[in-house]
């Protein structure tokens, strides 16, 4: 459904050098990326900031024309057949809206129906279905600008699906969402993929999105593919490792724990890395409170920057 082969995108950036002189510099945002996605697959496309994720998505959706390489989405060359492709794909950008800010959500859907020329009966059927799945009824008549981020994202997903696309591109769909909204969006995406087989490419910062949704992931960094394979393998190496951050009643030397390693301290705050399969967070907390008085705590999940960093420092060897 998506085929990418040796895809490259080079930008020319100008930098001021002196009063009038400008320096020309070539920046390669995407540097020979290849991968393919089968129909019905749900793939995580992840990498640190500036890795080339968005540039790739822009080329796949036909916004940007590649510098070189070959790509095919739903059987079409995106850059050349942008309008045709637009009817076959759905796109959600987490950080910008495709809805009409000042109008009720319902009106945005009606406008999109006209833009995509969806027959009235199909439109009504899909709206009815998505209303139930995403529980849109409480805010269907609210102007978009008054929606919470979570509600808006449910609206964005509906908007991207009204023309029944074959491929769905999700660019950071959970960015900024609280845990409840995040879970809701994830459940919906999982169901969508399971029941309708919509091919989905998901970019995110949040490794837990991928763990929950995508059996396969492609990690890119500096425009190149660093890893393409099962999410379970990555999760076994990194996902299992979490960090418990504890605030103690007083500043103390690093705690000594049977399972769990203090990796950093800052005044009364200590960072303890532990592996989920060896011990639960609850057991670890119990062990700590035997030694010191706990004031506050939180658990940090590993993030993608951390994974990439560890690949480079040789802590992990991929593929």
């Amino acid at each position: 459904m998506i085929e990418v082969s040796d895809l490259r995108k080079t930008f020319t950036v100008y930098r001021r050098a002196g009063r009038l002189r400008r320096e020309r510099r070539q920046v390669t945002a995407v540097d020979g990326v290849s991968f393919s996605v089968e129909p019905g697959e749900m793939v995580g496309y992840i990498g640190p900031n500036g890795a080339g994720k968005s540039t790739t998505i822009k080329m796949l959706t036909g916004i940007l024309v590649p510098s070189s390489g070959w790509l095919l989405v739903a059987g079409l060359t995106p850059a050349r057949r942008r309008t045709e492709l637009a009817k076959r794909i759905g796109v959600v950008f987490g950080n910008r809206t495709q809805l009409w800010w000042d109008l009720p959500l319902r009106d945005s859907f009606e406008l999109l129906r006209h833009i995509y020329r969806v027959p009235g009966a199909d439109h009504r059927r899909r709206i009815a279905e998505l209303r139930g799945l995403l529980d849109l009824d409480p805010f269907l008549d609210t102007p978009v600008r008054q929606l919470s981020l979570g509600q808006r994202m449910r609206g964005e997903l509906t908007a991207a699906l009204l023309h029944a696309p074959d491929v769905l591109f999700l660019d950071e769909p959970t960015v900024g969402l609280d845990i409840v909204s995040k879970a809701r969006v994830r459940d919906f995406l999982a169901q969508l993929n399971r029941e309708r087989g919509v091919t989905t490419l998901l970019t995110t910062h949040d490794l837990s999105d991928i763990e929950r949704l995508c059996p396969r992931m492609v990690i890119i960094d500096r425009g190149r593919v660093l890893y393409d394979g099962g999410t379970a393998e990555i999760a076994a190496r990194f996902g299992a490792e979490r960090t418990l951050v504890v605030d103690l009643a007083e500043t103390r030397p690093p705690l000594h724990l049977a399972r769990g390693l203090v990796v950093r301290t800052d005044g009364p705050r200590q960072w303890i890395r532990f592996r989920s399969e060896e011990m639960t967070a609850a057991a670890l907390i119990a062990a700590i409170s035997e030694q010191a008085q706990l004031v506050d705590l939180s658990i940090e999940e590993p993030d993608i920057e951390e994974v990439v960093r560890r690949v480079y420092t040789g802590e992990a060897v991929l593929a």
């Binding site: 930008f11 020319t12 540039t55 822009k58 959706t61 036909g62 916004i63 940007l64 024309v65 850059a79 942008r82 309008t83 045709e84 637009a86 009817k87 794909i89 796109v91 950008f93 950080n95 910008r96 809206t97 495709q98 009409w100 800010w101 000042d102 109008l103 009106d107 009606e110 406008l111 006209h114 833009i115 995509y116 020329r117 102007p143």
Partner: protein
């Protein structure tokens, strides 16, 4: 043909939707409306002041200049109402909103234009219409079928010429987003120029307005024909008849520049 009609329906939907969105801010709408009206009235007052000191301006009487002003004003107001939103293209590019438009099966130009239709922009048409009515009431024009056709063609062609210049100017935003002011000098400045008889400008300005940025074909040449006046550019009042042609040409150039701009944007992403 069916395709064109469907696009037209979509356009109408998008346009009314954005007007509906605007109408939510009633107070802003009212204030905008009042501000536009004051601006429009003071603009025409400037002309009245000139005629307070001079009986004629470049051989044109007050009602004649009012005719010119009204005709140009209506064309400009139509253009402003239809595509005035193009002024925000630079901002849309910076915010990434334009990318959202590109993943939809509809022209980007149409989506930018309808992103925020402001009815206040038609205030100018009302005010220009009033001036035009005053002019016609005082001019004793011998209306013929030809003159009526010219009158209608002048409004449409004027709007098309303004649109062509406006679209081309805005499309420069695809290369650089820093020149909105320069572009404004052509669009809003163009409206100012077309409100006065061309004779009051130097000979090179006249030629520039007639043949480079064809503002002379907005109101000026059609008015020559309707009012029966001589041409001050190259002495050829019959140029009035090529107005629709110039309009189509200007609009095509504007659309061409827009397409080139989108192409540039899609290869550089800047």
């Amino acid at each position: 043909m069916v395709d064109r009609l469907a696009t037209l329906t979509t356009y109408r939907r998008l346009a009314t939707a954005s007007m509906r969105a605007r109408a939510q801010y009633r107070l802003t709408f009212g204030l905008d409306f009042a501000a536009q009206l004051v601006a429009g009235v003071s603009e025409f007052l400037a002309i009245l002041v000139i005629f307070h000191h001079l009986p004629r301006l470049g051989g044109w009487s007050l009602p004649e200049v009012a005719f010119l002003y009204g005709l140009a004003g209506i064309s400009f107001a139509l253009t402003d109402a239809l595509i005035g939103q193009l002024d925000t293209l630079g901002q849309m590019i910076r915010m990434g909103t334009f990318d959202v438009f590109l993943v939809r099966p509809l022209s980007g130009l149409l989506q930018v234009a309808t992103s925020d239709m402001q009815l206040k922009r038609l205030t100018k048409a009302v005010q220009a219409g009033a001036v035009l009515t005053f002019a016609i009431a005082n001019l004793h024009i011998a209306w013929s079928a030809g003159k009526l056709v010219m009158f209608a063609a002048a409004i449409g062609s004027g709007a098309a010429i303004f649109s062509g210049v406006w679209i081309a100017g805005s499309a420069i935003g695809f290369w650089t987003t820093d020149i909105q002011e320069v572009v404004n000098s052509f669009t809003y400045g163009g409206n100012y120029l077309t409100s006065y008889p061309i004779n009051i400008f130097g000979v090179w300005t006249r030629r520039f307005l007639a043949f480079v940025v064809p503002m002379a074909f907005v109101a000026y040449y059609p008015s020559l024909f309707i009012l029966g006046k001589p041409d001050a550019v190259i002495g050829l009042p019959a140029l009035a008849f090529v107005t629709p042609l110039i309009a189509v040409l200007t609009l095509s150039v504007g659309l061409g520049v827009w397409r080139a701009g989108v192409r540039h944007y899609r290869s550089t992403g800047s």
